[in-house]
């Protein structure tokens, strides 16, 4: 078992005192970065990159990847406490995480999120460690048609979940698609929907829209309902952690399923965002309490967080072996590798054994260290909700403005964020579901692009979407998910009909 030997060698490298210290520093810094929407993981990693040249490559990558882990953990904090997802894959966490916090269960929601992230990432690292030779090439089988099929699957497992007016759901989703389409069209190189404006040329960034729709609108709603964030009471201590773990044990099946969805989506590499939406959708569809999702069910936190982090972690595999980054942060890490003279690609595992296994070992340790640090801090995070509303609202506004600005370094985006804040407030009050809008915004562009690329390849023939076993089975699964509500009704009726 040469892998195991290599891994233990990796552990011995990662466990050197300097590297261990770097790990802790990286996690703490990463959590800070994750909490401030203005400092995404990509930002932190990019800025620290030059500093790491004084370190050994292995130490440097340990520091950077721990910042990455810390930022992943940290992203859930703002989603749960303030309804502000810092990254696209934290959006699904807000659906139940924020209501939980409002019901006074912030500590439980945070613990569930952290623990699920940890489990998801851990499963993914196991996959990377033991089956990487088997799955490393899997991403190669993904052409545009397969990408489209995966996107379709993500939409199909999510669609039809929102209650309320189907027309409002549709309008909301269409607005999302339109926003996603603004900017340069990759396939033709034409500018779309910019109406001659330079500001619109960069398109509508997810973060700007979501900070407005979710974060700012929440402040407006809170003040309308009486100057307070609901649910700031509630016992907050470390015992909440144990209680939550006991509760999570009852949802083992969801954890395992979500981790598998995440790993698969990461390796393909469709990425963490569709993984989190899909996992949430599937969990809700298969749950007996499906109707209570969105009102603060713990499964609604576990499912997206586990999947997102399993995907985020396993996406490092195609990055290392094929050089395709799964996220902006991964892209910057990739740039770092190249600067250290490490060429990502099929040969990396052969030529740079020390480095690769040091990195994998640091993933194991970094995650454990990270989990301990964030869990200990849960009561403090939850205590933020006790800060008086006028103070916290002002600080959130400032942090949101910085977040919106730094996405594109454009002050115009701050204005956009405020406009979306008002839109979100009005839409929420009129019972328009916001999740379909965000889903379409985040995935719309890639979906349309891969659809059109696929048809270019097939010269307009739809047969490309069933041209091989892989794409055909993903499409079939998508249709199964789409018609699941109808099918499950038929299924449950059959025995009843037989009995009658």
């Amino acid at each position: 078992m040469s892998e195991l030997a290599a891994l233990f060698h990796g552990f011995s490298i990662a466990l050197e005192p300097t590297n261990l210290a770097l790990m802790v520093a990286g996690i703490v810094l990463g959590v800070l970065i994750g909490v401030l929407p203005g400092l995404g993981g990509a930002n932190g990693v990019a800025i620290l990159l030059p500093l790491t040249f004084t370190l050994e490559p292995v130490s440097a990558i340990i520091l950077l990847s721990c910042i990455y882990w810390g930022a992943l953990f940290g992203g859930a904090i703002t989603s749960i406490l303030f309804n502000i997802p810092g990254e696209p894959w934290s959006v699904a966490t807000t659906f139940d995480g924020y209501p939980m916090a409002q019901n006074g269960r912030a500590a439980e929601a945070l613990t569930a999120a952290f623990t699920s992230s940890f489990i998801g990432a851990f499963v993914a690292i196991l996959v990377i460690t033991f089956v990487s030779p088997l799955v490393a090439g899997f991403a190669l089988r993904f052409g545009p048609a397969e990408f489209f099929a995966v996107m379709f699957l993500a939409f199909a497992s999510f669609i039809g979940l929102s209650s309320g007016s189907p027309f409002k759901t549709m309008a909301s989703m269409m607005v999302g698609f339109l926003l996603a389409g603004v900017g340069l069209d990759t396939v033709t190189g034409e500018l779309r929907g910019t109406f001659g404006s330079t500001e619109l040329m960069r398109g509508f960034n997810f973060l700007v829209v979501v900070i407005g729709l979710f974060g700012i609108s929440e402040i407006l709603q809170s003040i309308e309902e009486g100057l307070t964030f609901r649910g700031r009471e509630g016992r907050i201590d470390l015992r909440a952690v144990l209680r939550t773990w006991a509760e999570m044990l009852r949802h083992k099946a969801i954890v395992v399923r979500s981790a598998l969805i995440g790993c698969w989506m990461g390796i393909t590499p469709a990425g963490a965002t569709p993984a989190s939406f899909m996992s949430y959708g599937v969990a809700r569809r298969l749950s007996r309490h499906g109707r209570e999702f969105g009102q603060g069910r713990i499964e609604g936190v576990i499912a997206p967080e586990t999947a997102a982090h399993a995907a985020g972690t396993s996406a490092l595999l195609p990055m290392l072996t094929l050089g395709i980054p799964g996220s902006p942060t991964a892209a910057v890490l990739l740039g770092g590798l190249i600067m250290w003279g490490l060429q990502p690609g099929p040969m990396l595992f052969v030529e740079q054994k020390d480095f690769v296994w040091g990195l994998i070992a640091s993933m194991y340790l970094g995650n454990v260290v990270g989990l301990v640090i964030v869990l200990v801090a849960v009561p403090w995070f939850a205590a933020i909700l006790r800060v008086p509303f006028p103070v916290i609202a002002a600080i959130i506004l400032v942090v949101c403005a910085i977040g919106a600005y730094t996405v594109n370094n454009a002050a115009f985006d701050i204005v956009l964020m405020l406009i979306f804040g008002v839109l979100g407030y009005v839409m929420k009050k009129l019972d328009y579901p916001l999740a379909p809008l965000v889903l379409a915004l985040v995935l719309g562009d890639r979906t349309e692009q891969s659809f059109r690329q696929a048809l270019l390849l097939s010269e307009g023939s739809f047969a490309i979407f069933v041209s091989n076993g892989l794409v055909a089975s993903i499409m079939a699964l998508g249709f199964l998910m789409l018609f699941w509500p109808v099918l499950s009704k038929l299924w449950s009726r059959r025995p009843a009909a037989a009995g009658a």
Binding site: T188, A394, L430, E459, G460
Partner: protein, 166 residues
């Protein structure tokens, strides 16, 4: 102005429903026109650049059209979207936020943020200045240190920062 049985007056639910639906119809119209400009056909090798904007625009118009009709049918119910006093509360947050957004263009984000915190704490929260000023100062200092100095993320700056040499 519809009256609500429970007391108080405000903006009717129908009014807002109609306005938002009309807004979406307008956005859909823009998308349709943009789709037509780019070509909304289906080429021999797949859809043209304007195909999706065009049809998504049509779908948006139809969905919002139905919502519009539904809202108009329920006109008589007199449900309120928000009462005036509550709307006033919202504006107490929204107005300074809008001013804040505009001020960033002129005085930079740091001065504007300090002003916003002072306004919220003093004007809305009723905190005394001796509490509000330190909070504002601390927030600005911490943001400045974290973004400009440690992470080298340049944020918008105004005359004040330029005078200080940044």
């Amino acid at each position: 102005m519809p009256q609500f049985a429970g007391g108080g007056s405000g903006i009717g639910q129908t009014t807002v429903e109609v306005v938002l639906a009309l807004l979406f119809v307008a956005v859909g119209g823009l998308a349709v026109s943009e789709g037509l400009r780019l070509g909304n056909g289906w080429g021999f090798d797949g859809p043209q650049a304007g195909y999706f904007p065009f049809w998504i625009g049509i779908l948006l118009i139809s969905a919002s059209g139905v919502t519009l009709v539904q809202a108009l049918r329920r006109r008589g119910e007199g449900r309120l979207f928000v009462t005036w006093p509550r709307l006033f509360l919202v504006f107490r947050v929204l107005a300074p936020a809008a001013v804040y957004g505009a001020a960033i263009f002129f005085v930079g984000i740091y001065a504007a943020s300090a002003g916003l915190v002072l306004w919220f704490m003093r004007g809305i929260g009723g905190f005394p200045l001796r509490q509000a000023v330190p909070v504002a100062a601390a927030l600005v200092t911490v943001t400045f240190l974290v973004f400009e100095i440690w992470f080298l993320v340049p944020l918008p700056k105004g005359p004040l920062e330029h005078a200080l040499g940044f």
